[in-house]
Amino acid sequence: MSEILVVVDHIGGAVRKTTAELLTCARRLGEPSAVYFGAEDGLIPGQLARYGATKVYVLDDDAYRDCLVAPKAEALAHLVATRRPAAVLIPSTLEGKEVAARLSIKTDSGLVTDASDIVRGEDGAVETAKPVFGGAFTTTVSITKGTPIVTLKPNSLTPPENAGATVPIEVETVDVAVSDAAKAARIIRRESRADLGRPDLAHASIVVSGGRGTGGDFDAVEAFADCLGAAVGASRAAVDAGWYPHALQVGQTGVTVTPQLYVASGISGAIQHIAGMRSSRTVVAVNKDPDAPIFGLADFGVVGDLTSVLVQATTEIDSRRASGA
């Protein structure tokens, strides 16, 4: 069966959920081999085997950590040239998309970014679903040139549990001589964001966001998010006002989210915001303006003051849980 390369999204060895989604897609196309950038001692191969990886390539070089994008693209081009995979699947992170972009030029291959699904088309080509124009349309895009390269958005599908092979996974160390040219953009300092004890925004299955309507007070938004085990996001208006960090901005120029549940509180629903959350499965809106465009997208909406509504909802859910209801 043809080999499909899947780039592993991980933080210090802890595999992120997107990787399982990528491996699930890869199994539809062929036999998934994971590509792991990082030190081998952090790797837990079982995390990858569980979702169908039969092999993992481990690539460990300072350049992958200390330089921007180019070294990883070079390494993947090496794997494409030597292993001749039938496709390369990459997480749709900022870095992932840029790695994919460079790889597509190096290998003269077709590229789809931000896909929401990947299948084998009737004509045998790799076929993707891709939302465009801020999610207003979904296109079907086939890749017709070279080694198909796809980046997949987080939360695109639910990976089946224990779908993977039970055979032991093969671990192969690959050394690629990274060129000096690829090391030209050097990361001289990296500041990790404070861990807020909440799920990662882009990957969270529930997101509660606050906007202008919070007036800068995110207490009710955060308490409701914590009650639901959700990530907290913010609209551009709230970020521009300095109420919330830009890293947590949901929207076209911020983070695109595709959770099971998106709660927009005090957010009117500007196009730029909708582009970042339109593909959410269920949308709930709380806003005091009954004419806010966000209600046009909402599966459930409450017209009212967000603080009193969210505080009451938090109390209600807590008390239902306490009573075991």
Partner: protein
Amino acid sequence: MNIVVCVKYVPATADRRFSAVDITVDRAGVEGTLCELDEHAIEEALRITEADEGEVTVVTVGPEEAADAIARGLQMGAHKGVHIVDDALHGSDAAATSLVLAAAVRRIGYDIVLCGMASTDGAMGVVPAMLAERLGVPQLTLASQVTVEGGTVTIRRESDTATEHIEASGPLVLSVTDRSNEPRYPSFKGIMAAKRKLVETWSPAELGIAPEVGPEAAGTRVSAFAARPARTGGQIVSDEGEGGVRLAEYLVAQKLV
């Protein structure tokens, strides 16, 4: 320091649709504009050359009307423009666009190639990385802050999990986000001055790359498109004192909590 800013002419947000003929972005009769994210790139280029010296060239690949995008850049203060126009370019993908842009910026000459973070229509955000790959120069992309000292450029980039400070020496490709600066509005003086600035029109053939662009050369084929169905049956309630309870009930009924 000479800077080439790559900009895109995009359909106005409200008018985005697909052509039923060839499933490319339908531009016929659609009002267009300079992509607002590219204004940040023009602004950054102007700031760098104002602090130092050098010339800013605005370049675009697109139909006749895309000249408006260049004009806007010149009104903001860029020194000259290059418009690469050809019917064969219709339906080109990001790889082809980067091929044409790479040839153009090589011909213009540059210390920095500056781009916006993405276009607001295609929104892939991959052209800057592709350009760096094709030009064989360092990429400093998605900068929320730019510092230029001598020949060294340092940026701040918000990655998925951390804030990174990245450094490279020119010539290089730089892209900036909408957090990087506040683009200026063209002044009356700027608008008048722009009318006298030089805009050259080139064809891909002149750049020696005609056969490699357009939909046939693309690495992907769009076979279908569908408008996302409008959400229907959304239930909107008014908070009469029990809105939070109603919300909790909804989430429980939907098995979301």
